[in-house]
Each structure stands twice: as C-alpha cells, then as structure tokens.
C-alpha cells in the first residue's frame, strides 16, 4: 500500500537528497564561519567549502568556477541577469526579446524594464510550446540587447533549442540569457559549446535546499552586469551579502549528484512518466500539453476535457500535483503558459502537471493512474458537458447563458 498524499510535484520543489542534507549540516553547526571572515580558520573553512561547491556547480554545466555567482535562487538570478545586462548595455539599444511562456521571474522583470523605457517583444510559441527559429530570428532588431529564453519550461517541460538561438544571438552581439532552473539534472548542458552568456540555476529543483541559486556569467567573451544588490562587495561585486555556506554546500553536492547520476535517473523517471502516460491515455478525451519529443523525461502535463479544474484537484487530492505553475496556483487564473499555446480556458483549467522524481515508485504511479481514472469517471458522471459531448453536441456551437 502506498502512502498518500503522493508527491508528484518535483518541478515545484524537491526534497533535499539525504546525501545533500548530510553535507549541509556540518556547515550549520561546527563549521559555521562567515566565508568573508579572513582572519581565522572558521572563515577559511567556510570559504573553502564555498569554492568547492562553486567547482561542483560549474562542473555540471562545463563552466569555469569563476563564472558562477551565488544568488538566493533562480528568481534573483533571472532578475540580476536581465536587469543587470539591460542596464549595463542600454547604451547599445533598449530592445529585449523573450517568450510568452517564460517564468514570471523573467516576464515580470522584463515588464519592469518596460516601465523604465525599454521595449520588449514577447514571442508566441508554437502550439507544441516550442519557439520557431525563423520567428525568433525575425524578432531580433539592430537595437536588441538582451534575449531571454528558458531551457526547460516549468509547466509543460518542453526543451527549447537554445543552441541555435545562441548562435544567432552571438552573431549579432546580443546578450543571451537562459533560465535553466528546471533543466539541471534533466538535460545535459555544456556551456563550453553553447553560446549562452548568462544562465540561471536553482538548487531546490534539483534536490538541493531552497534559498540558493546561481548565475553563470560568461568570461570569454566577457559579459558585464550592473549589480542589483550592493554592500560588502561579495561575489566580485556582482552580488553582495553574506554567503549562506550550508546552502551553497548543499547546492554543490546536489549538482555533483545530478552530474553523476543524471543518465540513470532520467531512465528511471522516463520509464515512470511513460507508464503514467500510457495509463492515463486510456481515459477518453485527454490532451497532452507540450511537445512529447523535445521534453524533459519527468514531466507530463495533461488536460482532461469536460471536468472542471478545481474539482479535479479536489478529487485527486491524494496526489500532490500542480494545476498551472506553483507560483500562480494560488489564484484561479488559468495557466498563461497553456493559453499561449492556444488552449481554451476550459482545457487550461482542467490541466494537471505531473512531475516525477528521484523518489517516485512504480506503485505510486499505478496508484495515481487508478485514482485519476476513477475520479475523472466520477466527475464526468456529474458533468452536464460530458452528457452533451456523448450526445454528439458540439459544445463550441452552444450559446451559453451569460453569467
């Protein structure tokens, strides 16, 4: 018998891996020094740990440790990258390009810059969630200074072709930022080959602790940023603030594990995801959101026609899943990501994101399949729309009473 609720929300956050926790704890207790303390062993020990972790993070993405700047998380990294680059390079132009399906941390930051007088283009992805390269190229202008595209979408898990986009940006001298918060440990990233200038990372999506992230800032060719947080001049002036040693150590260990175990882990989660997909595909009128080929192996985002989203979440509350992204799910707004793909509000509302992880078992997946099947059946029994569909009525032709 499986223990409920079953956690299938690994893209919202992950538990800290036991090996990560084990590495972190000494830096909370006996090795508690401030890495900025240069006058005693407590500080030196902490600084050494911070630099080892920097190497571990750099190793996962094949970067130089000197290119890694610690932040409080991917949200801060995205803010620092986009605002920092836009402010630094605004003399060259004031146009920014991003995608409608980016995380709010990117979209809100670009909006903020628009309020400061920058101009922005928000690319609409194809119905499968992927950005068309020709459309991408066409959006670039002589005054475009920054482009921001996420590697892996948090809701639908699609993987964008950042290699191609990077080549195009580099040829035009445009700073290319990539939000890779959802990608680490899922997609191989080689920054020695990719023409990416700035890349955001988060620890807590990859079995590390919350409250820590990093920004990759390319050194060759050198990318400049205007710091967004000032003070003691930590992180070579790019980001001040006492470094949270234990969290940094945790992120380093989490990224070390990700590097070493990515291949095996992806096989594990892919098998479970495919099993889930096969099971749920037996239900009538289900629609997968996002491309299934160019997609991380642990994500399944699926819409169930003729059932309402909130009652669906309530019905399957034994499963900890997301409807829409975690950050916006407190509101009743349908997912803006799914709407950008052209999904109707109804289908966006009745979408569920299942994200599988390191600790998910086959028994949990089987339980989830049975539960969803039973509950969708029950809710459709209750649904007047399902009746109409079964009677062959095309719901799009029905004139609904104003409400």
């Amino acid at each position: 018998m499986v223990k409920t609720p079953i956690y299938l929300d690994y893209s919202a956050t992950t538990p800290v891996d036991p090996r990560v926790a084990e590495q972190m704890i000494p830096y909370l207790t006996e090795k508690f020094g401030n890495p900025a303390s240069r006058s005693h062993e407590f500080g030196w020990d902490a600084e050494k740990a911070v630099e080892e972790a920097r190497e571990q993070v750099a190793a996962l993405v094949n970067a130089d440790p000197k290119e890694i700047v610690w932040t409080s998380g991917a949200t801060e990294s995205n803010n620092l990258a986009i605002k920092g680059a836009a402010h630094f390079y605004q003399g060259k132009g004031k146009h920014i390009v991003t995608v409608m399906t980016e995380h709010k941390a990117v979209l809100d930051t670009v909006r903020h810059l628009e309020s400061e007088g920058f101009e922005a283009t928000y690319l609409k992805p194809e119905p499968n969630g992927l950005v068309d390269i020709d459309q991408f190229t066409a959006a670039l202008r002589p005054d475009t200074i920054v482009v921001s595209v996420m590697l892996v979408n948090n809701e639908i898990g699609v993987v964008q072709d950042i290699a191609a986009m990077g080549e195009i940006c580099r040829a035009r001298g445009i700073i290319f930022h990539v939000d890779a918060a959802q990608a680490t440990g899922k997609v191989a990233i080689d920054l020695s080959k990719l023409k990416v200038d700035l890349m955001s990372f988060s620890a807590h999506k990859t079995y590390g602790p919350k409250g820590i992230g990093a920004l990759y800032v390319r050194r060759k060719p050198r990318v400049r940023l205007e710091a967004q947080m000032h003070g003691g001049g930590h992180e070579r002036g790019m980001r001040s603030g006492t470094l949270a040693t234990h969290q940094i150590v945790g992120m380093g260990e989490a990224f070390r594990i990700a590097r070493e175990e990515m291949a095996a882990e992806n096989e594990h989660v892919r098998a479970l995801r495919d099993r889930l997909y096969a099971g749920l595909s037996q239900i009538e009128e289900v629609h997968v959101n996002g491309d299934m080929e160019n997609r991380v192996p642990h994500n399944l985002n699926i819409s169930f026609s003729f059932v309402e989203g909130e009652s669906l979440i309530m019905a399957i509350r034994d499963l900890a899943v997301s409807s829409g992204s975690a950050c916006t799910s407190a509101s009743l707004e349908p997912s803006y990501v799914l709407r950008a793909l052209g999904r109707s509000d109804e289908l966006a509302h009745s979408s569920i994101r299942f994200t599988i992880g390191r600790f998910t078992t086959e028994a949990e997946i089987d339980y989830a399949i049975d539960l969803v099947k039973a509950k969708i059946g029950r809710l459709r029994e209750l649904s007047p729309l399902w009746d109409m569909f079964k009677e062959g009525i095309d719901l799009s032709t029905v004139k609904w009473a104003a409400h």
Binding site: D9, A12, G73, D108, M229, H230, C327
Partner: protein, 381 residues
C-alpha cells in the same frame, strides 16, 4: 585545541534547537509554500508561524514582516525600493552605516538624490545637532543603524525617528547587529522600517527580514511570482525561515540572560585591554554588551589578528565583509580616529559559547603577542 570563537558579530553558530526546528523542512516537509496541496500547505503554515515568531520578538505585527535573503538584501530593498517611490530629494544616513546601506544610498545620486552623511562623535554616537542641521533641508529618507557592527555603539534611534518624522522623513534602522543583544522594539523605536538578519542571532545564513510600516510604499527589487505579498519574489527558503523564527524566539527569551553573561566578560576584557595600553573604541558610549573594539598603538591590526589566530583566538580586524582589504575602517575614520591607530583595530565579539576563562586566556595571549610584536618592531627599527 579548537580555537576560541570571538567573532560573533561576523556570524554565530546555529543553536541546536534552531537546527532541530529546521531539519524536518529539508526532507519531510519539503513542499513549496506556493503549492496548494498538502505539502505546500504544510510549508506555508511553517512560514506563517515563523513570521509570527519574528514579529513577536520585535513587537511588530506578522503582516509587517517580509522575508528576504539577509540583511544586505533587506537594506538594499528598503533604500532602493523606498527611493523609487519618492521624488528625488535628500537621503541622510549615518557616517558609520554598513556598506549595504551606504552603497545603495550613494547610487541614488545618479537619480538626482542628495546624500547627507550624518556625523558621529569620537565615541561613535550620532551627532544630534548634525541631524537637526540635516533636517533643515527637506529630507525624504533617514537611515541610522541601531547598533554598529564594528564598535557595538548603540544609537538613540527613537530620538532620531522623532526628529526625522517631525521633518516629514521616512526612518529606517538597520537592526541586524542589535537583535538578540539588546531589546529591539519596532513600535517603540517608532521607525517606518527595520532590517533583521538570522545568522547574527544563532539562526541560519541566507535569511533575514525587512519589517515595514504597512503604509510604506516600497518598489520590489526582485520580481516574479508575487511572493511576500508582492514585495519580494522567489520561492520561500522554508527551512531557513523556520530557523529564523526559532532563533528569534530564543533570542527574545534569553535577552537578559545574554546581557548578564556577556557584560561582565566584556567589562573584564575592556579593563584588561586598557591595562595593556589599548584604546577601546566607543568607550563611554552605550554599547552592545558583547562587543569590544580596540587598537594597540604601534601595532598593526591585521598582524595582531593573525598572531591571535595562531594562538587560538578567532577575532576580526574591521568588519568581516571588508576585512580582506587592509584599509583603515571607515567607521573609525568617521569617529575621528587617527588613520594610524585605526589600522590597528581588532574586534572581539562575544557569544553564548564564551566564558570568563577564555577572556582571561585571551588577555594573556594578547599580552604575549603585543610583547613579541613590539620586540620585532624594535629589532626592525
């Protein structure tokens, strides 16, 4: 023998009770507080409970407390965020503020602001006459720290707030060093905003708070997701927030006990230092009970700190953040200390783990090191 840790103003070890409170939030209650499922709700409850603990420790309402990544972010957010919502005018900060107040304040010059640095006297106390003088100019924002990280000197922030409010300015205090070492009351000080940090009060690094009068309009500096009621985006650092809450509760409960333990040690230290011919900075001013900042004339601070480290005492020369640079402390220069003497500055900051025995040993070790260094200086001469 593990060295005696005398650098609690740089950072503190985590209290084991704080660790115990935090641990379940790494592996068991790991949800994202923004998630609506049971894991998320559990995390949200923990964040809310910690917010109450922090608020309670400083006599504020939970709704006034916003979590940020630490003191640096809190101070940056307040200065930059408040200024963004005000018409450019004068900002007045004390001459002994931490760089994470001074630097964002300096940055405002580019946006048409005028920066007024408020002078301090030789003991490090804010010169109230200079504040009065500054407030004759229309002033929008005043930031004066409650206790200085280097000297431990405590400012009369309530008096500053009264004057500043009277002149129509917003008042902020950086209370990062004061928390846990003296009574800190948000309402009592009558400020509009206050910055706190966890790792100075036996809590974890990477978490702090900005406490705000709700009428204050602050422009967020990290956007995307609407966390912390839109003031500060980013997934909440749940375990650290829980640790911060626990640390605040402990600090509030043990405030008197802390002073009772630290003060006699610090007094013995100051007495011993004076006997060794040292100058104790901030002597005569109200200071935190745990901080002693001194210099021995003719002896370089960096050299002395390294010698003390070898002798088993972890102390600081100047503030931790800037201790990489061998420059004289701007705080001491602002107090009118001669550059030569300022370069000799060494800070001892005591904490729970220290005892009187360590203080006596320290004074002995210091005497030896001073003698050695003087002898070397004599040979060199």
């Amino acid at each position: 023998m593990s060295p005696a840790y005398f650098d609690h103003n740089a950072t503190t070890p985590l209290d084991e009770r704080v660790l115990a409170a935090m641990l379940p939030y790494f592996r068991e209650h790991y949800g994202n507080p923004s998630s609506r499922h049971a894991f998320g709700r559990e995390a949200r409850r923990a964040v809310d409970a910690a917010r109450e603990q922090v608020a309670h420790a400083i006599g504020a309402y939970p709704t006034q407390v916003s979590f940020v990544s630490g003191g640096t972010e809190g101070n940056n957010l307040l200065i930059r965020g408040a200024a963004a919502r005000l018409k450019p005018g004068q900002i007045a900060v004390s001459a002994v503020e931490h760089p994470c107040v001074t630097k964002p304040a300096q940055e405002l010059l580019e946006q048409g602001w005028r920066l007024r640095k408020l002078t301090v006297d030789r003991t490090g106390r804010l010169d109230m006459a200079d504040l009065d003088d500054a407030l004759r100019e229309p002033t929008r924002l005043v930031s004066v720290m409650l206790a200085n990280n280097e000297t431990g000197v405590v400012q009369d922030v309530a008096a500053v707030a009264e004057k500043a409010r009277g002149a129509g300015a917003l008042v902020h205090t950086d209370a990062v060093q004061a928390l846990g070492k003296m009574a800190v009351g948000f309402a009592d000080l009558n400020v509009h905003a206050m910055t706190l940090s966890a790792h100075k009060v036996y809590g974890p690094k990477g978490i702090g708070a900005l406490v705000l009068d709700k009428r204050l309009d602050i422009k967020p500096q990290i956007t995307g997701g609407g966390h912390e009621r839109g003031l500060r985006a980013g997934t909440e650092n749940v375990a650290a927030i829980v640790g911060f809450g626990a640390a605040c509760e402990l600090a509030a409960r043990r405030l008197e006990e802390f002073a009772a333990q630290a003060r006699p040690m610090r007094e013995r230290l100051d007495q011993g230092l004076r006997e060794l011919g040292a100058t104790v900075f901030g002597d005569g001013a109200r200071r935190l009970p745990n901080t002693s900042y001194f210099a021995v004339p003719g002896i370089d601070g960096e050299t002395l700190v390294m010698a003390l480290d070898r002798a088993g005492f972890a102390v600081a020369s100047g503030a931790a953040c800037s201790s990489g640079a061998a420059e004289a402390s701007p705080v001491l220069l602002a107090m009118g200390v001669e550059r030569e003497l300022a370069r000799g500055a060494v800070r001892v900051s005591l904490g729970w783990s220290n005892g009187m025995g360590q203080v006596e040993q320290f004074l002995l070790a210091l005497r030896n090191e001073i003698l050695k260094l003087k002898k070397m200086a004599a040979v060199a001469a």
